[in-house]
């Protein structure tokens, strides 16, 4: 251990509409804070190096890879994780579209895919197929392939757009 560090901070932020305070190291990965401290295990760790997008969450309206965000940089932010998509026990239309189009197989990429798609539709409610592919380019899927996922996002956009 170096520099007499080991000093933890009280981190305040809002996740899925709920204000939380977590005691953690400032350099802890946001991914680990979500999963280990807040038990929001919907967010997955894939590669742990920003390549696969499985850990993607929406932070202050922008898509980020939570494995690359040090906890201190989440101070005061509004976060949305995959747990924040469904409401009142009902899946969001985007999730319904993934189900309908078979846009998931093993499921490990799905939370990240959903968050990237969610963030895209927030920025651009009626994206072209090209825009969907660009927005999802940082999310890797190793089983179902991309066609059904892209189709699911297109369907959600068609059905709901901004309402999601």
């Amino acid at each position: 251990m170096s520099d007499g560090s080991g000093q933890q901070i009280d981190l305040h932020f809002v996740v899925n509409g709920q204000a939380v305070t977590v005691r953690c190291h400032p350099m802890a990965r946001l991914l680990d804070v979500l999963r280990e401290e807040l038990h929001l295990t919907g967010t997955k760790e894939g590669c742990g190096e920003g390549e696969c997008g499985a850990c993607a969450v929406v932070m202050d309206g922008e898509l980020v890879n939570s494995c690359l965000v040090p906890a201190a940089q989440a101070a005061g932010v509004q976060l949305r994780t995959v747990e924040g998509l469904a409401a009142g026990g009902r899946l969001a239309p985007l999730q319904e579209a993934f189900l309908h189009c078979n846009g998931a197989q093993c499921g490990i990429c799905t939370p990240g895919m959903l968050m990237a798609a969610f963030c895209l539709l927030q920025h651009n409610p009626h994206p072209s197929e090209e825009a969907v592919r660009v927005a999802l380019a940082g999310n890797l899927c190793r089983c179902t392939g991309y066609a059904k996922i892209v189709a699911a996002v297109a369907r959600a956009a068609q059905e709901g757009g901004d309402a999601l």
């Binding site: 251990m1 190291h25 400032p26 802890a28 990965r29 920003g50 997008g53 980020v64 690359l68």
Partner: protein, 295 residues
Amino acid sequence: MRFDVAAYKLRTPQSVQEALAWMAAEPGALRPLAGGTDLMVLLAAGKLPGGQFVNLWPLRELRTIEVTSDSVTLGALTTYSDVQAHPVLQQEFPMLVEAARQTGGWAIQNRGTLGGNIGNASPAADSPPALLCYDAELELRSAQGSRWLPYHGFHTGYRQTLLRPDEIIARLRLPRRRGQRLHCYRKVGPRQAQAISKVCFAGCADLEDGRLVSVRIALGGVAPTVVRCPETEHILAAATSPAALDEAAARASLSRQMAPIDDIRSTARYRRRVAENLLGQFVAVLRLHPGWATP
């Protein structure tokens, strides 16, 4: 987990001044951390040396884009997404926009910064070749004050720069040019998105009164640093007509200015060949330019 998070101290300053005061008090003890897209990768891999870091990300004063009639000045925290969204950059500095578009995926582009890309000093970084072609200048700031230097020459060796231990990269300035400019940017990696470059080529040229002026060529991934290639620039700039562009001489000179290696991403031979072919594409684009004087 391959890292012990307690080995790192990340301090969040209230202002740039406070950050610089901390860095002046303990020169070399604090490393700047911006969007984390490089350093957090090293952290998770267990390859980031422990110690103190200064959290620059919240300092909004470093995330501005100012446009004057002569230049565009970008705060070091300008992200790749910010670059892509800016109309003046789209219009006048398309290679920088293209580099931003081709770096990582959306989530990386929202967090990766120009200052970080420069400071991390990877020879395979994508924005530096464009910045070299656009004659970027850097503002380095410390508690003592600020100094501006040309970006060309900032990288002095593999992962080595002119940045002092008490300094941060604060801003970048791009001079605006009038007239017709031709831009040619191409990144070659294993995949269209989310891949690190094997080779990255940037070239631009102005045609004024039917003559080529200020040719710029820069490469990533072919030497211990990103490189500008003045010898090749001179060869091309000497041409007075499309037919006079000496591609063979230009290719030979480019080869002399590279020192590619074999590594996990590619081989020296492949990099050399691809870099020369990308130069060939640039020459072809130059030949087709409608601005040449008619003989």
